[in-house]
């Protein structure tokens, strides 16, 4: 398994040499959503706290880096970290309110949605942040401005982000932090009885998750060159963030990546083959049916099922 992963990473490193620019773009999105999904996975998967407002962190991170770059000329490489910190601060506020007041399950879901919506409406009404028109970034191709003439650089940055998030998740998973998160997700009261300070660890998970997600905001901004409150803080982006890890298997290390490798190309394929004809929307119907199918036939997500299937097969061959 380990060697398969290493080989996979090496293959991904070598891939740009043979990829078309379009394929490169798809991989960039796969990595980027894999990254966001992995960041979400820390609090939504491992800790089982279903945040459905993660777009807010992308928005805070993206707007921070962009404003700092436009207004103060600060390089987004630094702005990215500041954006991450501000996103983490917002994450801490949401987490504090949610966890201190004992909001579980769907109440927590709706708390996070409400916060993201408040951010969206607020930014839409702040002229200094561009209001609904948003911010537009000048394309310069200057690496100091987090811009690259060659699309492959974005590829490696997106890959690096995904790997960083995955390594973070991996490090968390094997440490006390991750073990405690899993215990909290499985049974919070039982975990408390075993000395787990559930509040503290849920807060930490939220902060780490929102920090990483905030970093993603900078990538989003400087890859797509504009920011609008509806796209960055909106519910559709939050949904994009959560469906990949859920489909892949929430709370597993490879689930978010697997989910992204499944859903991004499938969305693309369905758009390619069903989006050209007269039936505008057919591809999204297919996508919706696919999501329903995953829930009905793979209710734990793809990765756990795959892992079991592999284990069974290797068991048989032996």
């Amino acid at each position: 398994m380990k060697w398969v992963l290493v080989a996979g990473v090496l293959a991904l490193l070598a891939l740009p040499a043979v990829l078309s620019s379009y394929a490169l773009t798809l991989f960039i999105l796969i990595f980027f959503y894999g990254f966001l999904g992995q960041a979400w996975n820390i609090v939504g998967g491992y800790a089982g706290q279903l945040s459905a407002g993660h777009a807010a962190f992308v928005g805070v991170g993206g707007y921070t880096a962009t404003m700092l770059s436009i207004e103060l000329g600060l390089t987004p490489w630094v702005g990215m970290l500041i954006g991450g910190v501000l996103a983490a601060l917002l994450g801490a506020i949401i987490g504090y309110l949610g966890f201190r007041f004992g909001l579980r399950g769907f109440y927590f879901v709706l708390l996070t949605v409400a916060f993201a919506e408040i951010c969206r409406v607020a930014v839409s009404n702040i002229d200094a942040l561009g209001g609904p028109l948003g911010l537009y970034i000048t394309f310069t191709g200057n690496p100091r401005q987090f811009q690259f003439q060659d699309g492959r650089v974005y590829y490696y940055i997106a890959l690096a982000l995904m790997l960083v998030a995955t390594l973070t998740a991996w490090a968390i998973e094997r440490r006390r932090f991750g073990i405690y998160l899993a215990a909290i997700r499985e049974d919070e009261a039982a975990a408390e009885a075993l000395g787990v300070n559930a509040f503290k660890y849920k807060m930490l998970a939220m902060v780490v998750s929102s920090f990483l997600t905030g970093l993603g905001g900078t990538f989003y901004a400087f890859y797509l060159f504009s920011l609008q409150p509806n796209t960055l803080f909106g519910i559709p982006l939050s949904v994009e963030i959560i469906i990949r890890p859920i489909v892949g298997g929430a709370g597993t290390l490879l689930g978010p990546i697997l989910g992204s490798f499944i859903l991004t190309p499938l969305a693309e394929i369905s758009r390619l083959y069903l989006g050209q004809g007269g039936l505008h929307g057919a591809h999204l119907i297919a996508y919706g049916v696919l999501l329903i199918g995953v829930v009905l036939f793979l209710p734990e997500g793809v990765y756990p099922r795959l892992r079991r299937a592999l284990a069974r097969r290797s068991g048989q061959t032996r």
Partner: protein, 421 residues
Amino acid sequence: MTHRLTRRTFLETTAGGAAVLGFPLPLRAQPKTFKIGAIHPVTGALAEPGQACRLGAKMAVDAINAAGGVKGKGGIKLELLLGDTQTKPENGRVEAERVVTRGAQMLLGSFDSGSTNAMVSVAQQRRVPFLIDIAAADPITANVAQSVKAGQQKVQYVYRNFPTGSSFGRKAVQYFIEIFKEANVSPKRVVLMYCNDLFGQNQAHGFQAAHKTANPSWDIVEVIPWPEPPTDLSTEVSKAKAAKPDIIAPITRPASALLLFPEIRKQRIEMMGIVGPGSPGIYESGQIVQLKEDLEYVLTSVPWANFKNPKTATAAEEFRRRSGGKTFDTNSGYSYDAVFVIADILERATALDDPDAIVDAMKKTNYSSGLMQYGGPVAFNELGDNANAIPTMIQILSQKPVAVWPKEAALQKFVFPRPRA
């Protein structure tokens, strides 16, 4: 040159059917068509205008090909590679990359400013000339121009044949002043109401800024933005009424228009009339059927087709037929014209396989056969914008939208102030 050819060959080899991963396919024959990537939001929140744009572009391609293609280039035919942004910026980028990889030599699109700006980076990165048919945010072209000026980019590949947000505002204020003068009235109090989305805010800010500069005899006494799409506008209209307006200047989207105009009538506001700085879609037959008398005498400033051009009526009729009864308007019209502008550029370009040659031709554009109402020929200024792309003041008269201002565009005289019922 050789270098570029190799690059093109490389693109071709990786194009085509292996759409998703782009693994190499057998080399295709030399293209017999000139491919244009036409990317619009045909699903999602902006599906309605996006679908109109797509159809407008398709119609133009059909017309050009039926007339023998790009004659100066051996009658090469145009082919559209269609893309759907789903109203998401990231798909603007993905789709642009996809169509370019599949051989698109120019880009066209994409209605919403976010997706459009995402396409800009592809155009600049991969040196693909990009003609923006619709997207009004000023910075889209200005940013590229600035980046070229600063030497960070060598060539500007992005041009726009559409009024910018600020020019919309300037023109609207100008028309207001002219119409009031022509009607010999002097309204004092204007209430600006707008949908607080990308489009509405852009228009409203342009209008307010132009009003400040022009400093006319009327004031904007109240500004009322609402969240778009709204569920209810009764309080907003009550607020407008409380400001005792002479004129209500609304900026609506099709959805909010359905709420706003009936509400204005129901609350019986005494005023000279409704004169909008921009409300796309209110002239659609569907909207007129819905709103009927609520729309009568409403004036609004929108990019409009030039029906003095005899070809326009034919195109409008074809569009009506192919769209299932919709009006040939801003969206379909500008996308239609954009394809013709591209054809004109291709006629003049020294080579079709050199993006820079296309850009050279683009910069020298002086096209005057457009179906839309322009203030002069299509030509691109130093920012890459067409300063002659202007809106027209139209009015709904006898349940039909009619161009009424500026004078050279007017098909009928406007009715203002509106008659009392």
